[in-house]
Amino acid sequence: MNLFSEQIESASAERGPSSGTLDMLRCSRCGRDLVAEVVLAGDAACPYCGALFRQPAYRRIEAIVDSGSFIEIEREAEAGDPLSFPGYRTKLEKERAKSKMQEGVAIGKATIKGLRTALAIMDSYFMMGSMGTVVGEKIVILAEFALVNRLPLIIFCASGGARMQEGVLSLMQMSRTTIALARHSAAGLLHINVLTHPTTGGVTASFAMQGDITLAEPGALIGFAGPRVIEQTVGESLPDGFQTAEYLYEHGLIDRIVERNNMRETLASLLALHTTEHNAAPNREER
């Protein structure tokens, strides 16, 4: 059975009814029913119309990096329950079993077309990629690792925001990741963000919007507040296509929308632009 049957949805595609023992996905753009396992093991796109489903982290890594080059660090880091929040431990256990991940982000190093990079891939199938103490700490560790090894840093963002069950400790991760990435940046190192569906809340208001270059996947929901919150609090009806990658692009908030099958190529060319000998220019501030 596929690992992600509970939470399949995307900006352009939603989960359909199950039939028999196979979990099905219904593409909300073209309405066709698809076998979840097959779609998610591939490029997580509708084979008929190309609408994107959310892509599990390890599948995404395979698609982006040179085959076998990803070396993961801190894979086993696990959240505790620092607030003793009701139901949180049980929730974590369920999410671990379902996603086969220990937390909502995988970090490590890899090469893309031979170019070395540090890499973080958030996974929205683990508690909607919410940022708690472990996700925050892993981003901090990766930024420090990239700084020490003078590596560029690519973060694939996917998050519903700060994790409520860890309260203000989740909020502090916005400050901590900001600081670690500011140090990485001050050393003249490149940080690319790729915003995938969905990137919202505390992640948008911290590291997802602190890169030198910001890319996004087509149709991804990207925003500070979620659309339902905005509708509820303001009583405004939302314009068509509001908070999609395309909307942000038109408003000058991101640099480029990149199709999934073009992502590896685009990242490689950006890395190459930042790894020439010009990068050794002496006018860089270091700490």
Binding site: E78, A162, G167, V168, I179, A182, A205, F224, V234, P239
Partner: protein
């Protein structure tokens, strides 16, 4: 000056207290704590957001930059201040104040009081998330002392933007939370009437944050604390600022930034 044992009220009672209309707000403190106040207005690009007040002023014998979130007392003022929910213009104005503070070596005093950053269509279109992210980075790297005081509501990212500081101080009945108790109750318990239960579980009081090591000090509030009866607490806030400035103003800017950054990087809870 700072008390570690802030009484026995429930978390929800404190949240309600933090939201009281006659509770002292940023402009009340500015009037009581500083003199020779010159208000700096506008982000010089899109407009002026009255949910954030920025000013240059004297704190005793020291010129400082003040950045405060203002909710407003009367309905008319509350509407002008958008109920204390800042828009991108406000955070941009605040970043302008930070840059100037750094240039002139002025310490920064932030007065935090917001239910949260504004969640509206326009705010999103102008990059609310990016502006808060940039503001956080500005606070993380600014080469001048930063003291933040949570005077009322510390609502999520909108409050956090002004809270990444060398010293973080909370008033006894303020709160600081990742989400409003009502929001947490409706999402997690599917029932917003369980807000008081959520408030307890979120561990959002000054005492909770002191135990987590996030907050450096708590300032006690007298009975019946309001903008009409705030002299006693204003004096305590003054004392807290004075003592923090005394310690921070001798630290070389580079060391100061390093210490601030280390403080946060060393906060590990797992």
């Amino acid at each position: 000056m700072l008390h570690a044992n802030p009484g026995t009220r429930s978390a929800w009672e404190r949240v309600m207290n933090a939201r009281k209309e006659d509770r002292p707000q940023a402009r009340d403190y500015i009037e009581k704590l500083f003199h020779g106040v010159f208000e700096v207005r506008g982000d010089q690009c899109m407009g002026d957001d009255e949910a954030i007040v920025t000013a240059i002023a004297w704190f005793e014998t020291c010129p400082v930059t003040v950045i405060g979130q203002q909710k407003g007392h009367t309905l008319e003022e509350r509407m002008r201040c958008n109920f204390g929910m800042p828009s991108p213009e406000g955070y941009r104005k605040s970043m302008r104040a930070l840059r100037q503070a750094e240039k002139f070596g002025r310490p920064v005093i932030c007065l935090v009081d917001t239910p949260g950053a504004f969640c509206g269509v326009e705010a999103e279109a102008k990059g609310q998330g990016r502006v808060i992210a940039e503001h956080l980075r500005a606070m993380a790297t600014v080469r001048t002392p930063c003291i933040s005081i949570i005077i009322g509501e510390g609502g999520s990212g909108g409050a956090l933007a002004l809270s990444l500081a060398d010293r973080l101080i909370m008033l006894e009945n303020s709160y600081f939370s990742v989400i409003s108790p009502e929001g947490a109750a409706s999402i997690l318990f599917k029932d917003s009437s369980l807000a008081s239960e959520a408030a307890k579980n979120l561990k959002l009081t000054a005492g909770d944050l002191k135990r987590f090591g996030i907050v450096d000090g708590i300032i006690r509030e007298p009975q019946g604390y309001s903008r009409f009866h705030m002299d006693e607490s204003a004096e305590a806030v003054k004392k807290a600022i004075r003592s923090a400035l005394k310690r921070l103003s001798h630290v070389p800017p580079e060391r100061l930034v390093e210490q601030r950054q280390e403080k946060y990087l060393n906060m590990r809870w797992y």
